[in-house]
């Protein structure tokens, strides 16, 4: 893998819709916090940045028990900014590419291997399955599928928040991650199996997915 990459895991948000009283990255799925599930799959990545905000110290403590060489980036304005702000902060002084993952996401382990093997820009999505979703509109050209826009209403796939982009393109913004990407569309599409956890229903679906061996 020749790509020079910084992995950004955004864990600054409050996860208030879940009503569990903790930031979503610390949410345990089958006895293991989401953030640790990410880190386990990123063993060979040498530049990992975890963006913290709400319950920063608790996130730092959990991450450090697993891995000491993480750079923590603070989004002190996590209450009034979106995940795009967290990504923009962490994309500064980063490698050529950033791979951005949300801390509240579960990724199928086989698909994470596909992500890590990818050496170009991509925007990722999958089969719609969460309660509050953004969609990806795509088109195919010469056998390759590209993302042409993000939409609240229509599209083929659900946007899952995973993207790999040139880091210099991702350094400004305070809203959603897709708003950082939009000026650079079209971008190649990558289909992945994931479960995002925004609501209690999402959580139950994700738990069942893991317990069934990601089937």
């Amino acid at each position: 893998m020749a790509v020079s990459r910084t992995v950004i895991i955004s864990c600054a948000g409050m996860g208030s819709r879940l009503g569990l009283g903790s930031t979503k990255a610390l949410l345990e799925i089958d006895g293991k916090p989401l953030i640790i599930r990410h880190l386990e799959m990123l063993g060979h990545e040498s530049d990992i940045r975890v963006v913290v905000g709400y319950q920063a110290e608790a996130v730092i403590e959990v991450v450090r028990k697993y891995r000491e060489d993480v750079l923590f980036v603070f989004n002190h304005h996590y209450r009034e900014t979106g995940t795009g702000a967290s990504v923009a902060l962490a994309a500064k002084y980063a490698n050529d590419y950033i791979l951005s993952l949300d801390g509240d996401l579960l990724v199928h382990p086989e698909d994470m291997e596909k992500v890590l093997a990818c050496d170009h820009e991509f925007v990722s999505g999958g089969i719609p399955g969460t309660d509050d979703l953004w969609m990806l509109q795509t088109y195919t050209e010469n056998g390759r599928e590209f993302v042409s826009s993000f939409s609240k209403n229509t599209g083929t796939y659900e946007w899952n928040g995973i993207t790999q982009m040139k880091s210099r393109k991702m350094r400004n913004g305070t809203g959603h991650v897709f708003q950082l990407i939009e000026p650079y569309l079209p971008v190649p599409f990558l289909e992945l199996r994931t479960r995002e956890i925004d609501t209690v229903n999402d959580y139950e679906r994700a738990l069942a997915w893991v317990k069934n061996g990601f089937q």
């Binding site: 000491e68 060489d69 750079l71 923590f72 603070f74 002084y93």
Partner: protein
């Protein structure tokens, strides 16, 4: 090139041990020193007052003896290497007394890039602390965008004012005041040195 100037705390950032507790252990006043240091890290005693109390604990000890002990304290070699390679852009900013730290600072080649507190010495004993470093004054003097690296409550102001404010927790826990304002926190020396390289 970024043009950043780099300001480093000395104690438990460049050194791999806390300076006064390490010295006091060898001089038999560790318990008292450690108590004061912990209270200060927790923000329970104003820093200036605590520092003067800690100086008081070592006032009877010959300055040369303290200086020798401080001079032996191990340092984070990768950070020292970074400062050596970028000497014209790096400064140490520390509350410690010139007369105690000068051997250590010379050892790492930073004697001309040092902002510290100063004391008057007579017959190898401290007569008076004549000035305590004013980190605000240092920041005003720098006048360029800067990166600050530190771990203690007394570093928080400098870290908050920095373009890139880094908390370093490789030696001891990063103080709450630093966590509240740092842009980055890192716990491994290699990782910190690697990140500093990117800020050049």
């Amino acid at each position: 090139m970024s043009g950043y100037v780099f300001l480093f705390d000395l104690d438990a950032t460049i050194t791999r041990q806390e300076i006064l507790p390490a010295v006091s252990r060898k001089l038999g006043v560790y318990e008292k020193m450690s108590f004061l240091t912990e209270c200060t890290m927790r923000g329970e005693i104003p820093f200036k007052q605590s520092f003067l109390q800690r100086v008081e604990l070592l006032k009877e000890v010959p300055v040369s003896q303290v200086r020798r002990l401080v001079g032996e304290i191990p340092v984070n070699e990768k950070l020292v290497e970074f400062m050596a390679e970028n000497r014209e852009r790096c400064y140490l900013v520390t509350v410690h007394l010139d007369i105690w730290i000068i051997d250590l600072v010379r050892r790492i080649g930073m004697e001309n890039n040092l902002f510290c507190s100063k004391a008057l010495v007579k017959n190898d004993h401290i007569q008076d602390v004549v000035s305590i470093v004013d980190k605000n004054a240092v920041m005003n003097q720098i006048r360029l965008p800067f990166v600050a690296v530190g771990d203690g409550n007394h570093d928080a102001e400098m870290i908050q004012a920095a373009e890139v404010g880094i908390g370093y927790g490789g030696v001891r826990q990063v103080a709450p005041a630093v966590l509240a304002c740092a842009s980055h926190v890192v716990y491994q020396e290699e990782k910190l040195a690697e990140f500093l390289e990117r800020l050049l």
